[in-house]
């Protein structure tokens, strides 16, 4: 009498299970690695964009202030030599047919030299200060305190914020810097040349 074929047993053998688990672990491990790397990259990118955004916004504010300023009011006279602060006046419009100029304002590094500070009526009793951005690098990107023009921009040992008067224009440079948790430095430098309109 012919016996009916024995049905195949369900489930995996131990070897199959081991292989499956190993493959699964490899896949998950790889996926986790990729995800972590991607998140880290995204984090870096986000931080970089954030700093760039912050630097650009600050630069736009500085640039507009310099554009609207009376060139003759720029103090100190920053001809040829770079400086990290300017004092200026700008037009407020017309009153009784005459151009009205603002109270003096200043853009400079703060005492700690790590933030860009805007100041109204500098040195006066009614002085008012606003921090436009922090995280300013002590030196411009690529520069070292060694008396040499390390970053080949024509300036020696310039600060993280620098102004250079070029004729009727002012060249502005700004570097923001922030150390990350892994010890890396994220730096963002922006540069702009604007013409004094007044």
């Amino acid at each position: 009498m012919k016996q009916p074929p024995r049905p195949r047993q369900g489930g995996w053998t131990l070897i199959e299970l081991m292989i499956a688990l190993t493959l699964l672990a490899c896949i998950l491990g790889k996926a986790l690695y990729v995800m972590q790397a991607a998140l880290a990259l995204a984090g870096d990118e986000t931080a970089s964009l954030h700093y760039e955004d912050q630097a650009r916004r600050t630069m736009d504010r500085i640039a507009l202030a310099v554009m609207g300023s009376d060139r003759d009011s720029l103090v100190p006279q920053i001809d040829e030599i770079h400086t990290n602060n300017i004092t200026y006046r700008f037009s407020l419009g017309l009153e009784d047919g005459e151009v009205v100029w603002s109270a003096p304002e200043a853009i400079c590094l703060n005492d700690g030299r790590d933030a860009v500070e805007w100041c109204e009526n500098p040195g006066a009793a009614e002085e008012r200060k606003v921090i436009w951005t922090s995280l300013v690098s002590p030196l411009l990107e690529g520069e070292l305190v060694n008396g040499i023009d390390d970053n080949a921009n024509g300036l020696i040992d310039e600060d993280g914020l620098s102004f250079v008067l070029e004729g009727n224009s002012v060249r502005i440079r700004l570097t923001l810097r922030r150390p990350e948790v892994d010890g890396r430095l994220v730096m963002q430098t922006v540069e702009s040349v604007v013409c004094c309109r007044n």
Binding site: G10, M35, A38, E45, M67, S91, E98
Partner: protein, 598 residues
Amino acid sequence: MRTRQHAAPGRAGAALILSVMAVMVVSILAAGFLQLSLSVTRRLSSSADAAQALNLAEAGLAEAYTGLGMAKSGNVGTPEQPAFFGGGLFWVEATTHASGVVELECTAMYGTGRATLGMVCEPVAIGVASLGFFTLEDLRLNPDVRLDSYDSAQGSYADQINTPLNNQGVIGSNGDVSIGSNNKIFGDAIFGPTGKVDVGSGAVVTGGTSARPELEELPPVEVPDVAMKSVAVKYTGGSPMIVAPGEAGYSSLSIGKNSKLVLKGPLTFVVGTFLLGTGAELTFDTSDGPVQMYVTDSLDLSTSSIVSTSTQVTSDSIIMVSAPAGKTVSFGAKSQFYGFIYAPEAEIHMSAQYELYGGLVCKELQLAAQGKLHYDLSLGATLKSAMPRMLAWRVVELPQAVAARRTDPFQVMGLDPKALPSPSAAHEDQVLEVRYVADDGTTDTYFGHESDFDWNQVQELLYGVRDGLAFYLPDDYASSGDIGVDPLTSLVASSLSSKQLRDALLAASPGVSAEALVAACERNPPMSKSDLGAVLIANHPLDLDTLLAAIVSTALDSSTLKGVLVANSPLDPAALAAVLARSPPLSLSDLTSVLATQ
């Protein structure tokens, strides 16, 4: 028999779970990157839009600034109908202040970007002097007034009579302009926006007549703060009273009979009540500098007094009258006054013997019959100084309505970009006067609103004025015969009667141009034979063209033509041949007389 085998229950769905997990991980990553990417894109787009809006605002200011240099108003577009440019839109609002400076404010929108920039300009020489002879109230000219023009920068008035420069006068008001009978207006008459112009019988306006686009506002006189002598001074000395350069002030000053007052420039002279008595004399000595005379109460230059200027520089002798309406401001003196009179609140009475070279702007004007006004073009803008001077530039806080919705500006404002004008076409409409060479080579002129003028037909611009202010004059316009029409030629072409035309041409003889004489010979309706003959004889010797025109003219009969020909004999052979070929021929006796003089 085939049997279907089913999977073991313990394996069912395991692959699906793994697959779903994997898909979820990938989806989360993808969503994260997408979010990051969108955030970056939004930020970059917003930043780019803001920069572009700023650039558009700069472009708008530049358009308005350049427009000011071309005698435009500075208004470009409106919030309701802005100019389309570079994928965005902008409009510029110009505000002219009493001091003459113009404040431009340009608002630009691009994508989500918004910017408003302001600029303060001082249009050079765009002042009240460019209005020519102007009154705030209706202007009514008595009969036989002559208004014409010259350019003191190009020479004396006498040298420019019957030249194109003599034909660019400007007379106008904020209301009606009534041009009395037999007035000769060599130039334009511009009346108020809701006014009209009436031209009396025999009167001629060689230029255009048109409404000004908007009412002119005259800034008040700002009297300088000068120490005043409080006691009334009456000078009756035999030697001249000389007011030294610097500043001087009198609350009341009277120059008695046959006395003389000399105002020595550079001088700022303020006087409350000023009287120039019978036979008295007032001299503006501007040899060393300008004299500015401010009258705060009343001015009376009696009819037998004399006023003179030591130079013919019209911008050096200025009379500013801040006296209110109702006070006497009378220029009755005998004078050839080279200067500018400004009295925005006063009614001025001017006698016919006060011949004014320069300009006059006042509230009301009573000009005696036969008065003579000669507008000095150099008081208006010239191309050399037409570009405005920038005084200040600034970033203006965005208006609330503009800052509110940061989306596509065309959607926000409900505008179709295709229906918006370009920046050059968005300038405020003005009264335009141009002389140009058209595409077909003919020289043509236009006077009217600029919106009605097709610039495409202009091949070459010869002369251009907006709202009475020149914006284009060629370097050699003073000597070029192409850029202007001889005023006498315009006179010939006018509707003057033969007698009136004869009188006008005889008054200008013997300097009537050949062009005007030829036009007189060819006039239709023709001048009477005696009138034309008198004019031709008064201007002999005639050139060949004029002689030929006279010979073929139907206006001259045989006898009158004989007189002209004899007066110009011996004749050129070409003229003689024309005489012999004339139809109808000269009478035998007249022909004999002419031939006898050859």
